[in-house]
Symmetry: D2
């Protein structure tokens, strides 16, 4: 693991997720940009500690029982270098989203992944929910007809005030262009929303038109953005990302409307999927109730009515990554249900989405191709 030391957030989630199914064992880490903190954090976890990612990769390569996969859970500006180094060293990579800082980095990462022949998984964790898998399978199977409208949003409220000035580490790097990237809410939340929309519909966002704002004075990156979407196949949509909307914690919500039906899913109540066949009573699909697609069962751990949550979805990304890695090592095709997990290509698309939105907004609202 690179990143995820004391005081970090997402590293701990990755560790829980990896432990849940027991498919990965954490053996080593360069857990902080600060070497002392890195070593101390590793000692706390009882794993092999390294001062930085270069030493980690070198050290693990040198061991017969060295790590096979590197998990990159650093702030955005520190994704590309360790990921590329790991790939070049023949290690598989699970990388946190968004992919990186710039389009150039993104392309470099793609090239490295392709050249390496290693597995590269991007932790767009919301694609790990069984009901998201079910939604995707329903759209693919034509159960709502050709998609017409996609509404996706990811509002939060935690940056309604200038928390980056209060010493809060999570806030500080996210609002800093040098560490967070081109987008604020667009990079942190919009990439999740964009990915979820594409994952479920199987369509591609081809053009965007954005209006982006920084409502909190003195903030360099957007903390709210509205984006109009034009997707492949003629579908249209809207995406909203916000860090300044009180009463929203992580209110990611996707709605997809096709010619013959509609689907609605919300991250905060992820175990249900509303399906409205045109002209019929809407039904509330849930894991384990009635006939669902195998893709839903593939991503489930508990029986109907026993809710799964954030960590379980994250764990699914890990479990699918494990299957991809095993299949690669064993020279076989992976389980197709695991193979839908996002990878470097989705990461590149996410970076293009942010870049296009930022460009569109900067020019005062103009349709911009991804």
């Amino acid at each position: 693991m690179v990143g995820g030391g004391r005081g970090a957030f997402i590293g701990g989630v990755h560790r829980m997720a990896a432990r849940l199914d027991g498919r990965f064992e954490l053996v080593a880490g360069a857990l902080s940009a600060d070497a002392a903190n890195a070593m101390a954090s590793a000692a706390e976890l009882g794993i092999r500690g390294y001062a930085n990612f270069a030493e980690l990769i070198a050290g693990e390569r040198a061991r017969p029982d060295g790590a096979e996969c590197v998990s990159v859970v650093t702030p955005n500006h520190l994704h590309a270098a360790p990921a590329i180094a790991a790939l070049e060293a023949g290690l598989h990579v699970v990388c946190d989203k968004p992919l990186c800082l710039t389009l150039a980095e993104a392309e470099a990462m793609r090239r490295a992944a392709e050249a390496s022949g290693r597995v590269f998984v991007l932790s767009h964790n919301y694609t790990g929910h069984p009901m998201v898998r079910q939604a995707r399978a329903m759209v693919v199977a034509g159960e709502i007809g050709a998609v017409r409208v996609v509404q996706v949003e990811y509002p939060q409220d935690w940056l309604s005030t200038k928390r980056e000035d209060t010493g809060m580490k999570q806030a500080a790097w996210r609002v800093d262009p040098a560490r967070g990237g081109m987008g604020g809410s667009l990079g942190d939340l919009g990439t999740h929303a964009h990915n979820l929309a594409e994952y479920v519909t199987g369509l591609r966002v081809e053009h965007v038109l954005a209006d982006a704002q920084s409502f909190v004075a003195g903030r360099a990156l957007d903390d709210n953005a509205h984006v109009l979407l034009r997707l492949s196949g003629g579908a249209r949509g809207a995406l909203w990302s916000s860090q300044v909307s009180p009463g929203n914690e992580n209110a990611l919500r996707l709605r997809v409307y096709g010619e013959t039906g509609g689907l609605e899913w919300s991250q905060e109540h992820p175990n249900q999927l509303r399906h409205a066949p045109l002209g019929e009573a809407p039904r509330v699909l849930a894991r384990g109730v009635g006939a669902l697609h195998p893709a839903a069962a593939h991503a489930t751990r508990t029986p109907a009515g026993h809710p799964e949550g954030y960590v379980e979805a994250f764990a699914q990304i890990c479990r699918d990554a494990a299957e991809l890695i095993l299949a690669r090592e064993e020279g076989r095709a992976p389980d197709p249900l695991a193979a839908t997990v996002p990878g470097v290509e989705e990461g590149v698309r996410g970076m293009r989405f942010v870049a296009a939105c930022v460009a569109s907004a900067r020019e005062g609202g103009r349709w911009t191709a991804l």
Copy 2:
């Protein structure tokens, strides 16, 4: 009443709404563009029948007990003429929304209303809900701070297929530019959403940028539209109107986020208002529970926990209209709580909203002033 004969929809709602509080008595009508149907419909209702609105106005003026107020509930292209004629004859007017067909008509109606000194009320019925009144009062009182973001949407699904070709009268005129106006979903639903956003926030939509579509082949007007909003005071927002989103009946929903709190309201569950003060647990405000603004009590008929609905909100428009008319007749200032009811000015703004959206969409997405 002008319009609202056999086979019509909104006329019957207006009649129920007027009866609910007993402030109006329906005495006469020109209930259909078809004279025979008009007379037969009036006979069914036991009121004085007229073949057309001109005869209605002339006939009622000639009676000492003639009607004092005309309710215009015709399709959009038949609003302006009877409303103007009624105003010029010294009658008050309650007119269905949207105001009319064109900006020119809208301006003529405004001039007629101003010149007449009569009351003109526009039935933007959703402003009659107690919790909408409460939301407006909270924003005015600064309870959520300066407004930053406004999300408003009004999706339906009933025009997902080409019902206008099935002989359905309600569908036929709404999709016909000659009878419905410039906008399809924008005119029928977008005007409600636009009005509700302005009513609650007290802000004005100053610029729009729209993408509008006709998903059903052969339909001349938009059946889906996404609109970016820039409001007075620097607030931003998004508006979505749709007639092709399966699983949505009349899913009008408003969300307003300010510096210190958020408000959420949904037409299909109108008795609740979610209020999230920043950093505190969200609370579910409801009529009659805890301390609410007088504006909420003003619009309420039943105790807490006994739901009010669509007709009650409509009735509030009538009850407020009655107060405005009485005050006008009695030469006094009306109850300020009644005076927030939408009038001709809101009607003109609605028409400008539609015109600006249509123009923006036609030009491929451009910020357009109202």
Copy 3:
């Protein structure tokens, strides 16, 4: 109308309900037990005023255009006398619930109703909701199989403190055995819950076992009661009535589980009915969406997605009463969809329910036949 003068609650609701559909015209009233208040209240409403119900009945009988139907909306101890007098005078009666004060009164009312040949309707208003009608029709049609379990509850919170000592008229008579009757929460709320359960299932509560409490010190009648139910056909259930459960306004809720499906309905969101066919995804039935029973459409006024509420359901009782009266006057069979409206028989059953619960509780919990 008998009762319903200044300061009363349910009288005003009855008046709105009667006006909504225009099937009744209020012409006269003995609106208060206080003669002066009665006359003043009538003057305010612009109707013929009488000092008491005896004068009302005599006065109206003497007029060729006298009232045809008497609406009894007094506190419970003042139901029997005016209702019986009206029936004996050949007037139809719409009476508020619960039927009366004692079992003896109830039997006398039943005899009077049967002897008179007049229509007697009991305003168990919750049976007027379209989705309640739909639920009944579904059970009758066997769509959930034989009923096994019935859960019904009606909690409120407004008597959590001793409001009867604060001069609140609505509270004072309800907690007074001389005016409210045998039951407190059981009489006011339990009768609604009992009636709703029988109305929807078509079953009869045959035995009850109750535990009843007065949590507020010094209160003579129960303010909370739990009742076990044994219904005809072998179904079992539980009923809970409460006036001391904070956070509940009028949280009447019915759940019915049969061999092949379940139904759930809540008064505070009355436009939806949850139907869970065994082994399939639950669906949310709503007025106007998909295929419903004619009984639902019969009780509906507005299109799908435009919520109806408390007054509309009350109005349905009036509309059905009007149909029963017209049919009686015209010597024809009434519309069978109207004929399900509760009458004197349901009133007698409700009184027996209260009496049985009170007796069971008093004896420390014993199965007691109705």
Copy 4:
């Protein structure tokens, strides 16, 4: 681990829960009553396998690195023997609920636990949810005043038909008195509901009165039961357990009403807790939003808005068990927030609850002391 081999359900959940926080490592198991299956299941998991629990305990005791804690996840009739043997061998025990088969066994387990000085934790997993911990802390702190009414229910639908005859292992032992115990729905679900009510309120169920049924023909144990509750301090309540209510998966729901407020919590949406202070708007408490008690934070792993579920609550039981064990080993007092986790005493109370309900129902409904 004893039990939890191939085809079992709860064993896998225990393993995930134990892994999530990394506080336990699974090293050995007697995973099935069938020795061959036991060994094969252990091999699959890569742990030391034993043919039965006696060999497991003997084998592990003999090793310097032997297991310190035994997790008992067998059907109910196989709890007492391995748990007592483990305690007597000086091992800590985490045991699945209900505690065992009979009151005699329960008392023996209690004596063994007390004599051993070892930690005994009972996996009443629903007490591990952060919002359940919050509810308990609120009641203890007097935030809803003295408790008056407790409504708790746990309906399911999976035994609506005779699945025990279809070869479904989970169904077969639960409906068999020899393996499931005295109660059917009462033992499997009622014990959870009873425990949750006592855990949150801090009160004790002192008397019960029950009506229990077997709706599915040929089933020996109850598949539905209604129970009236009398709790310490004068509170009253009702408990409902059901396996035959279509549309309910694991719909455990607790409502507690006190003199000054109400609390509502539902297992299927466990991240929210509704708190209604009397006379104020209800608020929706959630992990990480606003000021909560430390007990909530103690049981939380993810930030506000990222839902936790069934496995996380289970993991909390494990994490608390780990703290109790460590404290015992280190000779110190455990974290008081961990010490609320249910133990053998709660297990004994649960068995008494079932026994009292069964006795009450058998005698036709009689108040019975626990």
